[in-house]
């Protein structure tokens, strides 16, 4: 069990080393550097501490899609709870971002893990075997964005009608 956020950040840095190449996209740079992110840190560092007073979370982790399950397991070991899983459609960059929010029930720590998948093949492994609560969040993200969570036991629509074949929160959705 870790005793400080810096220790958690170090463990994440071991899991997601900085030399692993990450796509540098303008929006990601905006999210981490401008207004609340740590501007002095190089934006290629995937694990960053951000200003809680402005952003609302402490640790920001940019992972590859195949690293999100290990990230979830690391947080589960350290007593975090799943807050939300959602998607953001970055249509201009041809990518979708899956954002995982976590909170800790015993203190104030907040961690955000994000991963990008290509819009043409939006697939990412499920974390529902680590956190059963993510099951419904991933179902909702699937039906609104079309992101496929590999290994999910039941990826059917949750809020839309059972036979819905459209993904409303995509930026190119026309009713």
């Amino acid at each position: 069990m870790i005793s400080s956020l810096q220790e958690l950040a170090d463990q994440f840095s071991k899991l997601i080393p900085q030399d692993a190449p990450l796509p540098e996209t303008p929006a990601a740079a905006g999210a981490s550097c401008a207004h609340g992110g740590v501007a002095s840190q190089a934006s290629t560092n995937p694990v960053q501490m951000v200003d809680y007073a402005i952003k609302g979370w402490h640790l920001d982790v940019r992972a590859r899609p195949d690293q999100v399950v290990a990230a979830a397991a690391l947080l589960d070991e350290n007593g975090f709870a799943t807050d939300a899983v959602t998607g953001v459609d970055w249509i201009a960059e041809g990518e979708m971002e899956v954002v995982y929010d976590y909170f800790h029930p015993a203190n104030s720590w907040r961690v955000v893990v994000r991963a990008r998948v290509p819009r043409s093949k939006p697939e990412i492994p499920t974390i529902s075997q680590v956190y059963p609560g993510a099951n419904w969040h991933e179902r909702e993200t699937h039906e609104f964005f079309g992101i496929v969570f590999l290994g999910h036991p039941n990826l059917t629509p949750l809020l839309l009608p059972e036979d819905a074949d459209y993904h409303p929160l995509r930026k190119d959705f026309k009713a």
């Binding site: 839309l160 009608p161 009713a175």
Partner: protein, 151 residues
């Protein structure tokens, strides 16, 4: 003559179906509670079963997923039956209508005929009571309760 007596009896004891869908349901519950008290008008007996209800107060937004269930409930009600559309969502989709919307049915009168429309988001319990009185007026042909005129 018999028709008058029957319609007076029906007007005095309209039994609503518990059909609170969203926010308007809370104002409907408040109308049934002790301050606004629709029991004065014979309508506090909310029936869960549509077979026992006279009036369906559609309180809330009708969704495309919910629409078949609403239609089934309407069909299950026995004649004579009436429908009150309470709140902006039941009248025309309410604040959830925007160009390109995909989930909301714009008004319950797209599914079946409505007798009284009560605007508001949500309408006050007094507005619901006024709507019930309007329905009674529709049934009996004349308004039996004084009209409240603001000073």
């Amino acid at each position: 003559m018999l028709d008058d007596v029957l319609s007076l009896a029906r007007a005095n004891s309209l039994w609503p179906l518990t059909f609170g869908l969203a926010c308007c349901a809370i104002e409907m519950m408040a109308a049934g509670a002790s301050r606004f008290d629709i029991s004065r008008f014979g309508a506090e007996v909310f029936r869960p079963s549509p077979r026992q209800a006279d009036v369906m107060i559609v309180a809330g937004t009708i969704n495309k997923k919910m629409a078949p269930a609403v239609k089934t409930l309407y069909d299950q009600m026995l004649e004579p039956k009436w429908v009150i559309a309470m709140g902006n969502c039941a009248i025309s989709g309410g604040p959830f209508v925007y160009p390109g919307q995909y989930a909301v049915i714009e008004g319950v009168d797209k599914l079946f005929p409505v007798d009284v429309f009560i605007p508001g988001c949500p309408p006050r319990p007094e507005a619901l009571i006024e709507g019930i009185l309007k329905l009674e007026e529709k049934l009996t042909g004349k308004r039996r309760w004084p009209e409240v005129i603001p000073q």
